[in-house]
Symmetry: C2
Subunit: 362 residues, 2 copies
């Protein structure tokens, strides 16, 4: 499909939902895509099954703290340069790009690259949501090597990283991203079409589009957008969702630390929702507890939505006084295997809680 | 000349002198060279004039905090891998390697590479001493681009850096070196023979050898090694030296900060030397003041020597109670030009003092 302008707005809204608070400001991402399309080419989104098994696919993304993006706007060609650097290094022509995560700006960054280079964008990603670190990808869980990786800043400074494992890739690349000012633009996990089909979470770009469209259409029809979302989810691989809290943000703690946006949100219950919900953040929302009792935990989605409009709120735009509704959503089975949970389950973030699926939570 | 084992010991001693406290423990460097020679090839040192103008020369070095090296011993092939990575990237056969600085382990690191790869080592370097940062090189002062640069750790993880200027190269590479554990091994400033001749400080490896030999021979003949050194210097491009203090180290402040070994040494005068000398350190000795009055300042050499043996003491091995003699030494004219002082004079380290040549100090 060729992405049109109305689709893009819906896609960004849905990606902010799936991003579970992270992945950066989708507004900036949308402007970048529109600019790239107006200057270069339309964006074609293709199904993973349409990628030849031996074709080279190079995912592209922003890396860094979403808080930094608020003030440090990308120049626009950084991710393009990273992809081209990797293509030159590999000595092979790239067939397509794709997202490493479906969240905020990182669902749109490959669209920018696709428009600029006239490359199709594969409808799939490596996280099925947003995660803060580069080894937290299904690509890594199912055996794709993340390097060689390229990382570029707004001056065109470029670093090519080769490491013995993907955790070390994250560690080195994070150091470079910090020195590039806290946000930089990457191409990594270069892989074959066969690997894309085997290791990615499929059809998440079009899922984001469906979610964003569902929220918009419910609003336009004066239907309850939360009910609309809860009706849509069972028809997708994210087949269970529920509202886990409603309230008012009473406190935000936030710091940009070690290259991440870390923080904690306190939400005081309103109406029938009693107690206080605390949400722990590392770029994304990781755990939600009410008065100390766990209500949802990573990798399941914890989505903070505006209580009036169901607009997803990214972590860097959370603020005191917002009326919010928190939704927990199940992730697909390939993201809940023991191998996957070992890398991006609670233990991957230093939590001692066991993973409990959202559908099994009280 | 082919370097023999006795020469190597003298060279390391002299390099520790020229290193003005920095450049890492020459003992580790010497063991690495001996090991490499025993396993691979002898080391040939060649004059810069013997390098063809169009030949490719790739300098090699350790990068990081000398304090880290005390506990994190190199595997031995890291700098070799960095040079080979750069050679592969440039697609051109390397003719020789050389030091980026003549100090401690970094005078020996290219000897290790030379022995392992059977490459000659050019008798010259890019600092004429040791400096803490990669843009503080005569290569940079006189127009050589520092990147592409390769940096490798003991796991063989390798990062290739390309930046728009040499200050950004230092900034990014320092971030990578920190993430590699505080010490890593580099190849950078790839250049032609013509550039070597035009921008390097010539004959510093053989100068280190002469200085080290001078100290040893004076000791063996029961002559005063300080007098021997002060007699030798006027016959070299470092044509002025004087003793600026003698005393006992009464306090050491030391921290490993932002990837550097930073610190301050207090030396209480002994005998006819009154007052307290304070020496500021960033990997190397940068300024020496007695009771607040400047006695020597970067880029001139501030060498802290054992008062009995004239053995140079590197900054990471300075300790309370040592009896030391501090010598100030003039650097060659190419290191005192306005362009050079702008980069590695007092202003390069944030000092507000004007540069005063050691021969003009009271």
């Amino acid at each position: 499909m060729i992405l049109n302008s109305a689709d893009l707005i819906d896609l960004c809204r849905g990606a902010a939902f799936l991003g579970t608070g992270g992945g950066g400001d989708p507004y900036i991402g949308r402007l970048m895509v529109e600019h790239a399309i107006s200057e270069a080419h339309p964006v074609e989104i293709i199904d993973p099954s349409d990628v030849p098994d031996d074709a080279l696919v190079i995912p592209t993304a922003m890396m860094g703290a979403p808080t930094v993006l608020v003030e440090k706007i990308p120049r626009g060609n950084e991710a393009v340069l990273s992809l081209q650097r990797l293509e030159r290094h590999l000595g092979k022509k790239v067939f397509a790009t794709m997202p490493i995560e479906i969240g905020g700006i990182n669902s749109t960054m490959p669209l920018v690259v696709g428009a600029r280079l006239n490359l199709p964008v594969v409808d799939a990603d490596g996280m099925g949501r947003a995660f803060p670190e580069l080894q937290m990808e299904t690509f890594n869980v199912y055996g794709v090597h993340g390097t060689p990786m390229a990382i570029t800043n707004e001056y065109g400074d470029c670093t090519l990283i080769e490491t013995h494992d993907n955790k070390m890739m994250e560690w080195i690349a994070r150091g470079v991203a910090i020195r590039m000012g806290g946000a930089a633009y990457i191409a990594n996990y270069p892989m074959t079409g066969e690997q894309v089909k085997r290791t990615s979470v499929p059809n998440t770009l079009t899922l984001a589009l469906k979610i964003g469209r569902c929220i918009r259409e419910a609003r336009e029809a004066h239907r309850n957008p939360f009910d609309a979302l809860l009706n849509l989810l069972p028809k997708t691989p994210y087949n269970f969702g529920k509202i886990i809290f409603r309230g008012k943000i009473s406190d935000m703690f936030r710091e940009t630390r070690a290259g991440f946006a870390a923080g904690r949100a306190r939400i005081e219950g309103l109406g029938e929702w009693k107690g206080v919900m605390v949400i722990e953040i590392q770029n994304e929302n990781l755990t939600a507890r009410v008065d100390g009792v766990l209500k949802a935990i990573v990798p399941d989605l914890i989505c903070i939505l505006d209580s009036e409009t169901a607009e997803p709120i990214t972590t860097e735009t959370l603020r005191y006084g917002q009326r919010v509704t928190v939704m927990g959503v199940a992730v697909p089975p390939m993201m809940r295997t023991p191998e996957a949970l070992a890398i991006f389950g609670p233990v991957g973030f230093g939590f001692t809680d066991k993973f409990t699926p959202i559908e099994a939570m009280d």
